[in-house]
């Protein structure tokens, strides 16, 4: 694997040009990796671009309308030392 400083800057492949979802994923992953200061290989970037929509879809699927009244399952004891 060859490390690439800004893998998302490379030209999208022809299949990506034909696929808006893939292009969106490409741009999103590029931005997220840059924001996180992570430098990855081209091979890894391709893997992340392919799997990102699945992860995004799984996270989006948690925003169920009937959870509007729920509070997060996080708590702490303010008196704990």
């Amino acid at each position: 694997m060859t490390p690439t400083q800004f893998p998302g800057n490379r030209s999208p492949s022809p299949s990506h040009k034909e696929n808006g979802v893939a292009s969106d994923a490409n741009a999103a992953v590029k931005m997220l990796l840059e924001t996180a200061n992570l430098t990855v290989s081209e091979e890894e970037f391709a893997i992340f671009t392919e799997s990102y929509p699945i992860l995004r879809s799984q996270a989006d699927g948690l925003y169920l309308p009937h959870l509007d009244a729920e509070v997060p399952a996080v708590s702490f004891d303010p008196a704990a030392e």
């Binding site: 992953v29 990796l33 996180a36 799997s51 948690l62 009937h66 729920e70 509070v71």
Partner: protein, 470 residues
Amino acid sequence: MPQDLPLTVKDAAAALRSGSVSSVQLTEGFLNRISLLNESLGAFVAVTGESALKAAQAADSDFAAGVDRGPLQGIPLAVKDIIATEDAPTTANSRVLDPEWGKGVDAPVVARLRSAGTVLLGKTTTSEFAIGLPDPDKGFPIPRNPWNLDHTPAGSSSGTGITVAAGLALGGLGTDTGGSVRGPAAQNGHTGLKVTFGRVPKNGVAPLGYTLDSVGPMARSAYDCAIMLEVMAGYDSGDSYAAQVPVPKYSELLTGDLQGLRVGVPMPYFYDSPEVTDEVRTAVFAALDVLKTGGAEMSDVEVPYAEQAKNANHVTLVAEAYSFHRNNMVNRWNDYGRFTRRALVRGAFLTAADYTQAQRFRSFFRRELAQLFASYDVLITPTWPSPAPRSDEMSPERQLRSVSFTGPWNLAGLPALAVPCGFSSSGLPLSMQIIGKPFAEGALLAVADAYQRQTDWHLKVPPVHTAVAA
């Protein structure tokens, strides 16, 4: 040296007390097996033979002096290599973890086992930081399934799973954040318990998912897991998540009685997923029939939003793990295994709102399950949808796409037990999962023990074991 080492803690404890074997003889026997098999199985990262033999000598001296610390005295066990032990480094199977981490100290759960007189044989392989898959370029042993070396032993408690199945120790410690005790137990063919969140202290354990992690016993039988849990469980002030709940004498709850047990069988998702093989479904149904014959009452139920629960567990896991690893990932990306970083990076792809929403879903899901458990004592599902796949077919992306029958219970913090229930036509173990109410480990172990009194799947040994015994 005994060639026919006992298969279970229970049998070994009886043999030690009858004088037919000493702890030193047992320990030498298991160390011999490790020396013969570890290179091909990749079960141990470090073997602590010297300190193990000292502990065995101490156990034998205690027996000779009439001191009996309980059924674990003199019993050889193994410890997953993300749990600190004073006599060996903790690596988390990673080039990233600070070598000073946990150095020279026992995690409380390890200290409890030592106080009970156990003999710790060494540290077992784990997926790096309990996530991802083995990377052969990083220099750690590659764990292999003892039933077929080309297949995965599952993770992340791979080494302990192999160790128990292949007879390299009588039991051991694993950790479970999304299925890491139950997966290896299922795919190596023995029993493994994911405890209620907070049941066993987890300080001294390298974290993965702070609100999901648990330390659990892995052994051939439910009885052996019960004996181990009696020692492992209980509050420790060093773990802010540890529960202050009394610890029952689990082994005394194993009566063999199933009369009136209310079993919920959630067909949607857990049985009807296209990923569930016919062999898995048939084996678990056959196990349900055994329980029914014993007096259990079966009902079809539905676990609402099971798929979302799996996803919420994953969002929680990678977000919490990424917060721990973020700085090292920025500076030492290539020091992480190739599969580890592919899994951990997902934490950078999620938003703070995604994590918070996963916790809102968690509140909802826990309440839904509490309502379900008002009518049922246990739920039973397959532990894994298929027998162990080939190792070269595994990837973090495949795991992302797959169903998980284990993750939902980590999200809810509930106890869940993997129990062997058959073999595939290709000779690989199959497993059912028994899930219960918070802190109902005793109920799960009692159901499994009753089943194991009627079956012997948990006592089957892989060919690699018998080859050495011969």
